[in-house]
Amino acid sequence: MDNIVERLTRAVAQRTSRRSFIARLGKLVAGGMMIPLLPVDRVAAQSSSTSPVARSTPAPNRDNDQTCDYWKYCAIDGYLCSCCGGGSHDCPPGATPSPTSWVGTCRHPADGKDYIVSYRDCCGKVPCGRCLCANTVGEMPLYRTQLDSDLIWCFGAPTMVYHCSTAEIVGVK
């Protein structure tokens, strides 16, 4: 488990030059906040889902990244950047990828593997307003901050103004 946290933190940290933020993140981890990720085991035991109810049959749109059904979106919460001029893991023009994120684990329907997905917000514009999705596989309350998708995850971005949400594969579990 610690490995995953470390890997995730590193993966995200590699792409940000905001050292002050990293310092703050370190403080957070030291503060005991970054225990989370526990429910990952439980998430992994399930297939990806579109509505909060897990599906046993393949969702018809799980290969379409402009729908809530897309497999990587099993725990996404917000407006899909892929409907806003961005991609499933790319910000629309002019929006800034947040260096921080909440995380989930989604099973790829084709290879059967469980991927760790970093749900990174695009920040610096007001909400895009298209394709609102609220998937909740593995989603936790505020006290498990790293797994709370309702927060504005723009920590470390130029502003905390939320634009849309992406799903970035960080690795395989």
Binding site: G32, P36, Q46, V53, A54, V161
Partner: protein, 377 residues
């Protein structure tokens, strides 16, 4: 039929004309006053999802189905009412250039009788930004201190002295978030390991004591929701799987008072469980709990509730249940006589009312934007 109506209308105009031979006097423009808040008034916090840098509170008389006034806020603001009902507060975040620029956080003060803006108290630009939730801000029962949960993502609590109109200081709460007001000068934060941190303040708003409890639930197995029902020193947490954890905060450190299930074996077989945004509400006296219930599997904790179940907190037993006209996402029970249950469906811009605890449907008020929380006097 139509003709008869038209004739009737005409008759009214003729009558009015005969009674008003003199011309109408000039109007004198004023601003209305709000007056003393009534129990069935709802203060509905609309985050304006498409432009959340401007929040709004719609003040609605639910009996009359009438908008009484509005106050505005900043980015994903919280709303608080002073315990004496003389002032309202918006806990705000502003950017100097609407969507960018310099961030400033502040507590904006409004006169409750006139809705006039009275000024602001500056706070550190660290407040927790989220789709609005209860217990990310809170006021002590004596109205003296306002607490604001911070997340940067390091966690702390800003303390504001409402009497001296000053930011007093910041209390670090490592590993624990939120402000659950649980006594005269006391708040609790929820910690990642399933424990509660109890912080006692002195008369200057500085921490007197800070004591973390043992974990009272297992977040890896059955997480509790983070918007519990609070009655005085008692906090009722509902969990994803339908347990109630009754916590006693009368002492320095939180103690488990009871743990019981919302659902019977039969209910669980039928997959009944709590869910929604704000899934639990307590009656004023604390004798009853209202919980939004739906049928669903694992990780359906945010599915809106088809029914409201009513529980007796002493007997720890369900005493009633009623269906909602529209599935509910957040509920509240009004204070005072003739309590009503107020239910906000998910993204449907409406608030429905029911008698409490009977659950007789009373009506609906529409046009409240993207509201997730409702509060009242």
């Amino acid at each position: 039929m139509v003709k008869r109506k038209a004739l009737f209308a005409l008759a009214i105009w003729v009558m009015a004309a005969s009674g008003a031979r003199a011309q109408l006097p000039p109007d004198q423009m004023t601003s209305y006053k709000l007056g003393a808040p009534q129990p069935h008034w709802a203060f509905i916090l609309d985050s304006v999802f498409l432009a959340p840098t401007v929040s709004k509170v719609d003040i609605v008389d639910l009996d009359a189905g009438k908008l009484l006034g509005q106050i505005d806020g900043g980015y994903l603001s919280n709303f608080e009412f002073s315990p004496d009902r003389r002032e309202m507060y918006m806990i705000d975040t502003f950017y100097s250039r609407a969507w960018h620029g310099t961030r400033s956080d502040a507590v904006s003060i409004f006169d409750a009788g006139t809705l006039a803006y009275k000024g602001e108290i500056s706070i550190p630009p660290k407040r927790l930004l989220i789709v609005p939730k209860n217990n990310t801000t809170g006021i002590t029962p004596d109205g003296r201190f306002l607490m604001v949960a911070n997340l940067t993502p390091a966690t702390s609590v800003s303390v504001v002295d409402l009497k001296s109109r000053k930011f007093v200081g910041e209390i670090e709460t490592p590993g624990c978030v939120q402000v659950l007001i649980a006594g005269k000068r006391k708040f609790a934060s929820m910690c990642a390991d399933g424990s509660l941190l109890t912080v006692q303040l002195d008369d200057s708003g500085k921490p007197l004591s800070r004591k973390q409890s043992k974990p009272f639930f297992d977040p890896g197995k059955d997480p509790v929701f983070d918007q519990p029902a609070i009655v005085g020193n008692t906090i009722y947490f509902d969990s994803y799987h339908g347990q109630i954890y009754e916590m006693d905060l009368s002492g320095d450190v939180a103690q488990t008072k009871s743990e019981w299930a919302l659902t019977s074996d039969e209910d669980r077989k039928a997959n009944w469980r709590p869910g929604g945004w704000l899934s639990i509400a307590a009656s004023e006296k604390g004798d009853l709990l209202y919980v939004l219930m739906h049928q669903g599997g694992e990780w359906t904790h945010k599915q809106p509730g088809k029914e409201v179940w009513v529980f007796d907190t002493s007997a720890k037993k369900r005493i009633g249940r009623f269906p909602l006209k529209t599935d509910g996402y957040s509920i509240r029970v009004s204070r005072g006589p003739n309590p009503i249950l107020e239910s906000l469906p998910l993204m449907q811009s409406q608030i429905e009312t029911y008698t409490a605890p009977e659950g007789k449907y009373l009506g609906v008020y529409k046009d409240i934007g993207t509201a997730f929380l409702v509060s009242g006097p």
